[in-house]
C-alpha cells in the first residue's frame, strides 16, 4: 500500500524528523487558510497529492488548469487561491500515471524552504540478504534515475538489520560520503535512526526521500517523501488502513480488492483469469509473442468460494476493452470445478458475448470440463497455454 506525501510527512514528523510547515487542502479556501495561518510571507509550494513521482514535469489535461506542472511555486497569498483553483479537480498526467492521468482531489500547501544543498535517501528491502538497505546519493537537479543508471559508485549502499538501527560508524560514512561537516552529525543520527524505526514499526517496504534539504545550520529537512507498506502486514496497522486512498484504485480494481483478488488493467484487448503470478506472467508472454496485449488479468489463486470466483469473472466480463477471455488454471489447492461453476454463474448473469477459451489442469480437471460441456455455452477447451492463445485469437478473428 502507498500513501500520499502529506501522510508520509506526518509520520516523519511524529518521529522527530523535520519537515517544512504545511497542510493539506481540499478547496482553494483551505489552501488560503493554511498559508495565512503560517507566519511565513511566502513563497509557498502547492503540490498535487497523487501517488506518483515526476509530478513537477507532469501536465494537466484540462485547459483551464494552466500550463504549469503538478508542483507549483507561488509567491503571494492571492496567487494561492488562483493556482489551487486550477489544480484541484483537474487531471494530472505524469510519466507514472499513464495517459489517463489521475484526478487531483487535494493539494499540499507547504512553506518554501531555502536550503544550502540537497541529497537523496531511501530505505528498501534487499531480498537476497533479507536486510534493509539504506541508499544515499548526492543529487543536483532531480535526474536521479539517469545518475543511478550510469554510475553506481555515486550511490552509497548500507546494510541495516531489522533488529538494530544505524551504528555511529555508519552515520560517519554517510556524512563523509555527502561531504557534510560536523554540524550535521547529530541531525543525521536522529534522522537515520528515526527512518529505520519508522520502517520497522510500520512494516514498510520502501521509504524514499527525494530530496532531503540541508539547512544553513546543518539540520536536515525532508522536502518530499514517498512511503510504501507491506499489504500482508496491514492487519496489524489500523492507523495505516485508515490512510488508504480508494481514489488511487480504478473502480474494477477496487471491487476485485474487496474480494481479495489481485486485479490489474493494461492497454490490450484480452482478459485473463489465472491462478498464480507466474501463470499470469507466462500468459502475458504467450500473448506478447502473438503481438496481442492483455486488457486485464485477475489472479484467483487460493480463492475457493465459487460466488467470489463468479464475482471476479464478472469483473473481467464487464471490462469494455475485453474482446476475448483466456482462463488458464492449474488447480492444486484451487479446485477446477469451482472455477467452472463460477464461469457458469457469471455468464448466467452478464451473458457471454466474447470468445472464451478455458484450459484446466490438476485438481478436479475432468469434473470441471464436464461442467462446462454440459452447460452448452460456447466455451472452447484447450490443453496447453500456447494452444489456448492460438484458439482464442482464431475465435476472435472468426467472430469479426
Amino acid at each position: 500500500m502507498n500513501i500520499h506525501e502529506y501522510q508520509a510527512k506526518k509520520i516523519l514528523s511524529d518521529y522527530g524528523i523535520l519537515i517544512p510547515k504545511g497542510g493539506v487542502a481540499y478547496t482553494p479556501n483551505e489552501a488560503k487558510k493554511i498559508a495565512s495561518a503560517s507566519s511565513s510571507k511566502g513563497p509557498w509550494i502547492l503540490k498535487s497529492q497523487i501517488q506518483s513521482g515526476f509530478r513537477n514535469n507532469g501536465y494537466f489535461l484540462e485547459k483551464g488548469a494552466g500550463k504549469q506542472g503538478g508542483i507549483r511555486k507561488v509567491k503571494s497569498r492571492k496567487d494561492i487561491v488562483h493556482q489551487a483553483k486550477q489544480m484541484l479537480g483537474s487531471t494530472l498526467v505524469t510519466e507514472q500515471t499513464g495517459p489517463k492521468g489521475r484526478l487531483v482531489g487535494k493539494i499540499y500547501v507547504e512553506s518554501y524552504m531555502q536550503v544550502k544543498n540537497i541529497f537523496y535517501m531511501a530505505l528498501i528491502i534487499d531480498s537476497i540478504t533479507a536486510n534493509i538497505k539504506l541508499l544515499v546519493a548526492e543529487i543536483k537537479d532531480e535526474d536521479i534515475v539517469k545518475m543511478a543508471l550510469s554510475n553506481s559508485r555515486k550511490i552509497l549502499k548500507i546494510d541495516l538489520s531489522i533488529n538494530q538501527g544505524p551504528t555511529e560508524e555508519q552515520i560517519y560514512k554517510i556524512i563523509n560520503f555527502l561531504k557534510l561537516d560536523g554540524k550535521s552529525l547529530k541531525s543525521m543520527e536522529t534522522f537515520v535512526t528515526g527512518l529505520h524505526k519508522i520502517f520497522v514499526d510500520y512494516d514498510a517496504t520502501m521509504i524514499e526521500l527525494s530530496p532531503v534539504g540541508i539547512m544553513k545550520n546543518g539540520n536536515l529537512v525532508v522536502l518530499d517523501a514517498k512511503m510504501s507498506f507491506d499489504d500482508n502486514a496491514l492487519y496489524r496497522h489500523k492507523s495505516l488502513q485508515k490512510l488508504q486512498d480508494d481514489n488511487e484504485l480504478e473502480e474494477r480494481e477496487l471491487q476485485a480488492f474487496k474480494y481479495g483478488f489481485k486485479y490489474s488493467e493494461f492497454d490490450g484487448n484480452i482478459g485473463c483469469i489465472v491462478n498464480g503470478d507466474g501463470i499470469a506472467l507466462a500468459a502475458m508472454d504467450a500473448l506478447g509473442r502473438k503481438n496481442v496485449g492483455t486488457a486485464c488479468f485477475l489472479n484467483v489463486k487460493g480463492g475457493v468460494d465459487k460466488d467470489k470466483i463468479a464475482a471476479g469473472i464478472k469483473i473481467i466480463m464487464t471490462n469494455p476493452k475485453v474482446e476475448g477471455i483466456l482462463i488458464n488454471v492449474l488447480g492444486g489447492f484451487l479446485r477446477c470445478n469451482l472455477i467452472a461453476e463460477g464461469i457458469i454463474n457469471a455468464t448466467s448473469e452478464v451473458g457471454l458475448n466474447v470468445p472464451l477459451v478455458v484450459r484446466f489442469e490438476g485438481t478436479n480437471k475432468e469434473e470441471a470440463q464436464e461442467i462446462l460441456e454440459r452447460s452448452k455455452l460456447p466455451i472452447i477447451i484447450a490443453d496447453n497455454m500456447e494452444n489456448s492463445v492460438d484458439m482464442l485469437l482464431q475465435a476472435i478473428e472468426e467472430g469479426e
Binding site: 502507498n2 506518483s52 513521482g53 507514472q96 531511501a122 530505505l123 528498501i124 528491502i125 534487499d126 531480498s127 537476497i128 533479507a130 536486510n131 541508499l135 546519493a137 536521479i144 534515475v145 543511478a148 543508471l149 549502499k157 538489520s161 531489522i162 512494516d203 517496504t205 520502501m206 524514499e208 527525494s210 514517498k226 510504501s228 507491506d230 500482508n232 502486514a233 492487519y235 496489524r236 489465472v274 491462478n275 498464480g276 503470478d277 507466474g278 501463470i279 506472467l281 507466462a282 502475458m284 508472454d285 504467450a286 500473448l287 506478447g288 509473442r289 489463486k301 487460493g302 492449474l330 488447480g331 492444486g332 489447492f333 489442469e361 490438476g362 485438481t363 496447453n384 497455454m385 500456447e386
Partner: protein, 288 residues
C-alpha cells in the same frame, strides 16, 4: 531417491486439525507420505487422521522422531511455527501460506542462520518426491517418478513444468516450489546444489520470474560448478512493460532495471538452456 524428502522422511503436520490440513494430509498419507505426528496447541492427546496430535513440535519429535514439518498454519502464525521447528532442530520446515508479512520472513531468515533447519516457502505448493512423499498441496496425480529435478519460484507454473516433463516421457525426481514472495527461505542455489549431489537427478528444470535477483545469483553459482547437470530454464514476465513503480529506489538498488531479458541473458551465459516458451521444454528434454 530424491532431495530433502522421500518415503523414509518422518513427517509432522503443524496445524493438522484445520480444514486445509485435513484435506491435504489425508491425500499425502494416501500417497505414501509417512505422517507420524500432528501439532495443534491445546489438542494434545487426540488422534486425527490416524495420527497422534501433540501440543508442541518438541513433544511431537520426542515421541515420534519426526524430522520434517509441513505447516498449514495461517500466514500470521508462520513465524511462531518456524521458531518452534528451529528450536526443536527439525531438518526441514515447509510453509504454503500466502500472505506472510515480509518483516516476519526477515525475522525467520535471521532465526534460520546457524540452525540446522531448512525452510521452504512461504507461498509455495511445497515439495513432492513422486510416489514417496508429498509435503504441501501439489495435485499429486500429475506427477511421475523419474530423474528430472524441478525448482520453481512460481507456484502454478511448477505444474506446467511437470506436465512438460511428462510429455517428454520422463518423470520428476523431486519438485520444489520456492514461492515468489520478496523474501524466501530456500533459494535456487541450495536446490541446484542438492540436485547435483543426488544420483537420481540427471537434469533440472528451473522456473524463474520477474523481480528480485534470485535467477542472477543462481546463474553465478551454476557457472562456477565444475561438473554441470543440464538446466533448462524458463523465466516468466518478459512481456511485462517496464513498470515505473512509485519512486526510484527499486531501480537504484540493482544499478538500473534488470528485465527478464537481462535475466535470461545472464542465465544463458552461465550455461543454462533458456527457453522463450514454457511449452518448448518437452522437446528439449526429448532430445537430451
Amino acid at each position: 531417491m530424491s532431495v530433502f524428502v522421500n518415503k523414509k522422511t518422518k513427517v509432522l503436520c503443524q496445524g493438522i486439525t484445520g480444514t486445509q490440513a485435513t484435506f491435504h494430509i489425508r491425500r499425502s498419507i494416501d500417497y505414501g507420505t509417512q505422517v507420524l505426528a500432528g501439532v495443534s496447541p491445546g489438542k494434545a492427546g487426540m488422534v486425527h487422521l490416524g495420527v497422534p496430535v501433540f501440543n508442541t513440535v518438541k513433544e511431537a519429535k520426542q515421541e515420534t522422531g519426526v524430522n520434517a514439518s509441513i505447516m498449514y498454519v495461517p500466514s500470521i502464525a508462520v513465524k511462531a511455527a518456524v521458531r518452534e521447528a528451529v528450536e526443536a532442530e527439525l531438518d526441514l520446515a515447509v510453509s504454503i501460506a500466502d500472505g506472510v508479512p515480509i518483516k516476519d520472513m526477515m525475522e525467520i531468515k535471521s532465526m534460520l542462520r546457524g540452525s540446522k533447519t531448512k525452510f521452504i516457502g512461504p507461498n509455495t505448493p511445497g515439495i513432492i518426491t513422486p510416489n514417496e512423499a508429498r509435503l504441501g498441496i501439489f495435485p499429486e496425480n500429475i506427477h511421475k517418478k523419474g530423474k528430472i529435478g524441478v525448482v520453481s519460484r512460481s507456484s502454478t507454473l511448477t505444474y506446467e513444468a511437470v506436465i512438460e516433463i511428462n510429455k517428454a516421457n520422463k518423470g520428476q525426481s523431486t519438485v520444489i516450489g520456492l514461492g515468489d514472495d520478496m523474501v524466501i527461505g530456500m533459494d535456487f542455489i541450495e536446490v541446484i546444489d542438492a540436485f547435483h549431489k543426488d544420483k537420481n537427478t540427471n537434469a533440472i528444470v528451473l522456473i524463474g520470474q520477474l523481480g528480485g535477483s534470485f535467477e542472477e545469483k543462481a546463474a553465478e553459482y551454476y557457472q562456477s560448478l565444475p561438473n554441470k547437470k543440464p538446466i533448462i530454464a524458463f523465466v516468466a514476465g518478459e512481456a511485462v512493460p517496464f513498470d515505473h513503480k512509485m519512486g526510484y529506489a527499486g531501480e537504484l538498488i540493482s544499478n538500473g532495471y534488470v528485465s527478464v531479458s537481462d535475466k535470461k541473458r545472464i542465465m544463458q551465459k552461465s550455461g543454462m538452456i533458456v527457453v522463450d516458451n514454457i511449452n518448448d521444454i518437452n522437446e528439449i528434454l526429448v532430445n537430451m
